[in-house]
Amino acid sequence: MKRRDFLKNVAIGSLLAGVPSRLLAQEGGLPDLAMIQGDSPGQITKEAIAAIGGIKRFIAKGDVVIIKPNIGWDRTPEQAACTNPEVVKAIVELCVEADAKQVIVMDNTINPSQRTYARSGIAEAAKEAGAKVPFVNPHHLKKMALNGEWFKEWEVYTDFVEADKIINVPIAKTHSLSRLTMGLKNWLGAVGGSRNQLHQGLDYAMIDLAKFFKPALTVLDAYRILLRNGPQGGRLSDAQLHKTVVAGVDYVAVDALGATFFDIQPEELPFLKLASERGIGRIDLEKLKIEKRTL
């Protein structure tokens, strides 16, 4: 396949994948966001996805699904630097139940992948549920046109564009530069190249990347949130048990709701304000239909 054709397919595919589901959300009377609280990370994850229409709304039989958690750091789940393994596992289970052809869980990590995949508990949990958990493969890196406002092209792991559906599963943490890191920031783990240079325009990079990848579904893990020393924490006291999962299609709205967990208004965060101004997603939480429940 030629690169241009491939890109065209990706563009068409993501249009088809993205648009109808948004229409569905308005027509079917489903909530824009589901925010479920409870003691079991796996259970609240499944409940949150069920509340916004169930996994079948997002995953069709025979789909190749790629799940993008944050597995960046050599940290345990209790330290809340990586996505909770139970949350990832629950999503893999749902995808397998929805007859996905293949479920892949992958991240371009910061500390050595062998270590972060193991210590985060994600590799083991996801494999148990039937996912493939490969390390990123340098041969899959391709310079691609991102066509962002700011960000024209970058090296991307093609696994994320070749899959039929992407599910973004970030964790909510503080970050010194963007203040918070959630769904939008999570896409820095799907690209290669000199990622450390992206800090020089982080807010813009985050928005352009999120727009490029267009996840079918975003599940924000706030079972534990990282309040201090982000984005990797260290002491257990840096993390706080929040026992919440947020699911939604509008990934900007998911991050906006996540911001409130840190007592930050969405419009205070430049990347959310910018995303909303560009019409990529909504941050007017008071006007969104949010289903909040505690199990």
Binding site: D74, P112, N137, H139, H175, S194, H199, Q200
Partner: protein
């Protein structure tokens, strides 16, 4: 006389080759297993070294301390005492490698063995004496010559990286042919092997290794004959062995084939000329003897055999050399003032003790999950060559890792738990404001702060005002170092976007192991508001 080679010894020879394959395989598997095992603590992968009496002896002499883990070396000595240098002929992986290449060079006619009458085999004894005498004067150079150290270091620093470059080029071919279905599993397989492929001295150490291998074209098992100090030590011990070579004079046709083909110049023919201290019991002579005249009958009477013919003058000379080597090797400022680039792994002993114990084997360099540990060239003076140092431009000390301290075979790096390791400083980070992106250009960055693994972070930041060339005033967050928190792990330097000469960098000052390599007066550190 009926010409017939011995079936028994030809079978024994085959068994010997199988045993060699087994031990070489074991050595290699243990080497490959010297990597992050998926959990924090690694089982005994460095055990091979503890069977080496030369390392045991020199480390003990040089450091004046006995390291109990070396107890299996006594077994090696006992076996050699009763059976001769079987360890060289049947077990030693480097010996097997040399034997394999000798065989290869003979088969390809690159080497044609001939009968030799020289006495050059004594050189290894002088090397041994030199090593032992210099160890007596606290200079530990055994790591340069010890066969296990030599082989392990060469494979880790030279051979495996070269293989892995070659393999990734090979795997790259599948991707060029669009055969991702073949390439993908191969990539995942090699990712799991966690091979460190970047070494500053890969070419240098690899070249020495190739050179030593090529010497087998000059003489079979050149290293074992002329260089190996461990072989020399075992040769000295093997003077009362239970299996003696016997030539049946009635069967012998004086063809001399045994002496020409002897791997180690042990001179099987004539019988009285056989040097048991050189014999590695490879059984080549008895297996190729056309008339089945050579046997190794067992005997139970201890019979003292001819001693090694060392010249007293040369012995004295070598001892003097060993004695003078110590001051000569220390004609370096390295001992007076620490090199800023000599960042030792966490748990490394104070420099003097470290140099007395480190055998330059490369275990730590193999196990390091970030490829951070590199062989030293000049930073530690001549005696510190090929000891490990952390190079933050290549890798960093991972926060939850203490693997290098666990695999060090001599305790030059003290075994530490992860909690203990994180108490230690291996250096201190500095910001070069002339190169730092926020300090210099006013652009946001602080990648270093994001990566700093300690909590609370050792890299803080402040909002600064920077006037750019175009007159615009910018107010980015700029990094500052918190001396109390910084462990010197080097991840900040490793991840700094100013890649060539990072704007944040670690130097060895402040390292916990040193009293001298410090900058702040203790009193000031203890009571901040004293003045």
């Amino acid at each position: 006389m009926k010409k017939e080679r011995s079936k028994k010894y030809r079978l024994l020879q085959k068994i010997r080759i199988l045993v060699q394959l087994f031990f070489f395989g074991l050595f290699f598997i243990l080497l490959l297993k010297t990597r992050f095992p998926g959990e924090d603590y690694i089982s005994n992968v460095e055990g091979f070294f503890h069977w080496d009496p030369l390392l045991a002896l020199t480390t003990t002499i040089a450091s004046r301390a006995f390291f109990i883990a070396f107890w299996p070396a006594v077994i090696t000595l006992a076996v050699t005492f009763f059976l001769g240098r079987v360890a060289c002929g049947w077990v030693c992986p480097l010996g097997s490698l040399h034997q394999f290449f000798s065989f290869l060079f003979k088969k390809t006619k690159l080497h044609r063995p001939k009968k030799l009458q020289d006495n050059h085999t004594v050189w290894k004894y002088y090397i041994l004496i030199f090593i032992l005498v210099s160890a007596l004067f606290t200079l530990d150079v055994v790591g340069i010559f010890d066969p296990f150290s030599f082989l392990y270091r060469s494979i880790v620093v030279g051979v495996l990286p070269a293989l892995s470059y070659g393999l990734s080029a090979f795997i790259g071919l599948f991707y060029q042919l669009n055969l991702t279905g073949i390439g993908d599993p191969m990539i995942q397989f090699f990712e799991n092997l966690n091979i460190n492929a970047i070494f500053l001295q890969g070419f240098f150490i690899g070249s020495i290794f190739i050179g030593i291998i090529l010497l087998n074209m000059v003489r079979e098992r050149f290293w074992c004959r002329y260089i190996c100090p461990l072989g020399a030590l075992l040769g000295l011990v093997s003077r009362w062995n239970l299996f003696d070579l016997k030539i049946d004079k009635e069967r012998c046709i004086d063809c001399g084939l045994c002496t020409i083909q002897c791997q180690t110049q042990a001179n099987p023919f004539p019988n009285e000329g056989w040097k048991s201290s050189e014999c590695v019991y490879c059984l080549t002579c008895s297996a190729i003897c056309p008339t089945n005249a050579i046997q190794f009958p067992g005997k139970f009477a201890a019979e003292k055999i001819e001693s090694i013919n060392l010249s007293r003058r040369k012995l004295l000379f070598t001892s003097f050399l060993g004695f003078f080597a110590m001051p000569f090797f220390r004609l370096t400022p390295a001992r007076q003032r620490a090199s800023e680039r000599l960042i030792r792994p966490p748990g490394a002993l104070p420099e003097d003790q470290f140099l007395q114990k480190c055998v330059k084997c490369g275990e730590c360099m193999k196990v390091c999950p970030t490829n951070a540990l590199q062989p030293v060239l000049s930073e530690a003076g001549p005696e510190g060559i090929w000891t490990p140092r952390l190079d933050p431009k290549i890798g960093y000390c991972d926060y939850y890792c203490s693997l290098c301290t666990q695999v060090c075979p001599t305790g030059a790096i003290k075994e530490l738990t992860i909690e203990e390791k994180n108490e230690l400083k291996i250096g201190t980070a500095w910001v070069n404001r002339n190169r730092c992106i926020p300090w210099k250009f006013g652009d946001p960055c602080i990648v270093c702060e994001e990566h700093c693994p300690v909590s609370p972070k050792a890299i803080k930041f402040q909002k600064i005002e920077v006037e750019r060339l175009d007159g615009i005033i910018k107010t980015p967050l700029a990094p500052l170092i918190d001396l109390d928190q910084c462990t010197g792990c080097g991840i900040c330097q490793n991840k700094c976007p100013v890649v060539d000469d990072p704007a944040i960098y670690v130097t060895s000052i402040g390292e916990s192991r040193s009293d001298k390599n410090q900058m702040l007066l203790d009193i000031i550190k203890a009571e901040e508001n004293i003045f």
